[in-house]
């Protein structure tokens, strides 16, 4: 890594990265718990997820403050500056991921308790893919692993395809069973939220790629874009 900074400065960057990882850990648990609450129809667990989102918001504010402080006082350059900018952007995205988990948890009360509801069995499978993306992108962030980040970006297509098939499945189910329309509509939103979580994991992956390589992911392999932007 290109750094020209004091140990004190390195410890602040470490602190910033630690905060991002902590946010990521909370977001992961929020998704897992939200899906558990949905599948088991556990409204208490759903309330815990909704209440837990405040912690993510507080951490995001802390990341903002620390990042601004580092920029203002230390004028970071090169890799350090990329780290700080990536952290600022990633914290916003992880906060959004937490919001989607919260949104799923909020719907638990709106969904009838029917464990045998067939489309409901598809949701955990889709959630599993979205969760694995979030998990791996956080690992990639910790390890500054650009290859793993690209792998996460490529996985987004799977979530999108799954979303399309759940969408069709639910619409067909609604036509055949009009009495389940309100529950099925809620599940459409849940699937939509999971699809968005996958998109946001991809956004984080692009920023991990940026922080690790200095290149924008969209410019990779493009000869004109190969020069480092910072």
């Amino acid at each position: 890594m290109v750094t020209s900074s004091t140990p004190q400065f390195q410890s602040e960057i470490g602190q910033l990265r630690g905060l991002i990882a902590e946010m990521g850990g909370l977001a992961e648990v929020a998704i897992t718990d939200a899906i558990d609450a949905l599948v088991r129809h556990d409204e208490d667990l759903a309330h815990t997820v909704v209440a837990g989102d405040a912690k993510l918001d507080a951490l995001e504010a802390e990341v903002d403050r620390l990042a601004v402080r580092i920029i203002a006082l230390r004028a970071p350059m090169a890799d350090d500056l990329r780290d700080v900018i990536a952290a600022l952007k990633i914290s916003g995205v992880i906060e959004r991921i937490g919001d989607y988990a919260k949104n799923i948890a909020k719907r638990v009360g709106e969904i009838d308790d029917r464990r045998k509801f067939e489309p409901l069995t598809l949701i955990p499978v889709m959630a599993g893919i979205a969760q694995s993306m979030v998990r791996d992108v956080l690992n990639a962030y910790g390890a500054r692993d650009a290859t793993l980040a690209i792998e996460v970006i490529n996985r987004d297509e799977k979530v999108d395809n799954f979303y399309d098939s759940i969408f069709r499945n639910l619409v067909a189910h609604m036509m055949e069973n009009p009495s389940t329309i309100s529950t099925a509509a809620q599940l459409l939103f849940v699937a939509r939220n999971l699809e968005r979580i996958g998109d946001h994991a991809t956004n984080v992956a692009e920023m991990v790629y940026f922080a690790a390589t200095g290149l924008y992911y969209s410019e990779r392999g493009n000869p004109g874009g190969l020069e480092k932007v910072i």
Partner: protein, 331 residues
């Protein structure tokens, strides 16, 4: 203890261990690097362990224990301990509890499943006996015959379930002792095929006159019997069941039981040997299946240091394969 001694000592420990000072990982032993990634030394400790409970434990001034999930693979369970050392550094160790937890869960699931399987036929028996005790229903001959038939069938089901459960527990009890009696699989397969009588067509072919393995004769017979029984039950009605034996020069024996039934969908194949797992629950029950047959086969073959495998193509049939090591003096 001097710091160099501390790290030298930790390097020797096989469980993942980290030293953390001022929120920074200052040392990780080899197991910790393998588990959490080679990048963690020098990073903020939350980069290494981001689970909320882990973060909370590390932030606590006095250390302690926590159970965290998903450190290695999603769903894995780890016991994390954090000790505050002299001088303020923290020693963090991790222990994989996934196996213990999954064994406990599997045991609980098994008891729950077994009780469910026993309760269903018993409820039917009690229900029909109570109805027959009623004068009106009991005196009508036709109704009585029909109800008695159901009671007989359900009682048989309980009986075979109890027998299968006892077989399983007997096999479990001896699973660590490899059986050594010489058993000729070719003769045994012919014998088992004969048990199914003239009416069903079970054909035995073998490329060797005899194939001796070290084994437990009655258990191996039971394994082959279960496979043939399945092939007859789920094969095409009136179709053929073939047992083929290859005792090739590799030192292994391959026994395959093939039917020409409708096959098993691929998503069921990995779970077929789970206890009480049924690819088609209603069909299995109506044929008197206990859901334990293949679990028993798997346990028997594993005890014989062999492998058991099922392959199937929809519409073409199913092949169950047993591979066993041939006895040394055979070669």
């Amino acid at each position: 203890m001097a710091e160099a001694d501390q790290t030298r000592l930790l390097a020797l420990i096989e469980m993942p261990a980290l030293l953390v000072e001022a929120d920074k990982v200052t040392f990780a032993n080899r197991a910790a690097l393998a588990l959490l990634g080679a990048h963690i030394v020098g990073e903020n400790v939350r980069i290494a362990l981001r689970a909320p409970d882990a973060v909370a434990l590390i932030m606590r001034p006095d250390g302690g224990h926590a159970r965290i999930t998903g450190v290695s693979v999603p769903g894995s369970i780890w016991e994390m301990a954090c000790h505050v050392l002299d001088g303020g550094a923290r020693l963090v160790t991790l222990q994989d509890m996934s196996i213990q937890v999954s064994v406990a869960r599997a045991h609980a699931d098994f008891v729950a499943n077994a009780s469910h399987e026993l309760r269903t036929p018993l409820a039917a028996i009690i229900g029909y006996v109570e109805t027959l005790s009623d004068e009106k229903a009991g005196e009508d001959r036709q109704t009585r015959e029909r109800f008695l038939g159901i009671i007989r069938r359900e009682a048989r089901r309980v009986q075979s379930l109890v027998e299968d459960l006892m077989s399983l527990s007997r096999i479990e009890a001896v699973k660590h002792e490899a059986p050594t009696d010489p058993v000729d699989i070719v003769a045994l397969a012919r014998e088992v095929a004969g048990e199914f009588g003239e009416t069903s067509s079970v054909e035995v072919t073998s490329d060797a006159a005899q194939a001796i393995v070290g084994g437990d004769r009655s258990q191996l017979a039971q394994a082959i019997r279960n496979l043939v029984d399945n092939a007859l039950k789920y094969g095409r009605p009136g179709g053929k069941v073939a047992i083929s034996i290859e005792a090739s020069a590799t030192g292994w024996l391959l026994l395959q039981v093939t039917d020409d039934g409708e096959g098993i969908a691929p998503e069921h194949l990995p779970r077929l040997t789970e206890r009480f797992y049924r690819a088609d629950a209603s069909r299995s029950r109506s044929l008197g299946g206990t859901g334990l047959g293949l679990a028993i086969v798997k346990h028997i073959i594993e005890r014989h240091r062999g492998r058991f495998d099922v392959s199937s193509r929809l519409g073409q049939g199913t092949t169950a394969s047993i591979t066993l090591p041939l006895s040394g003096d055979q070669l």
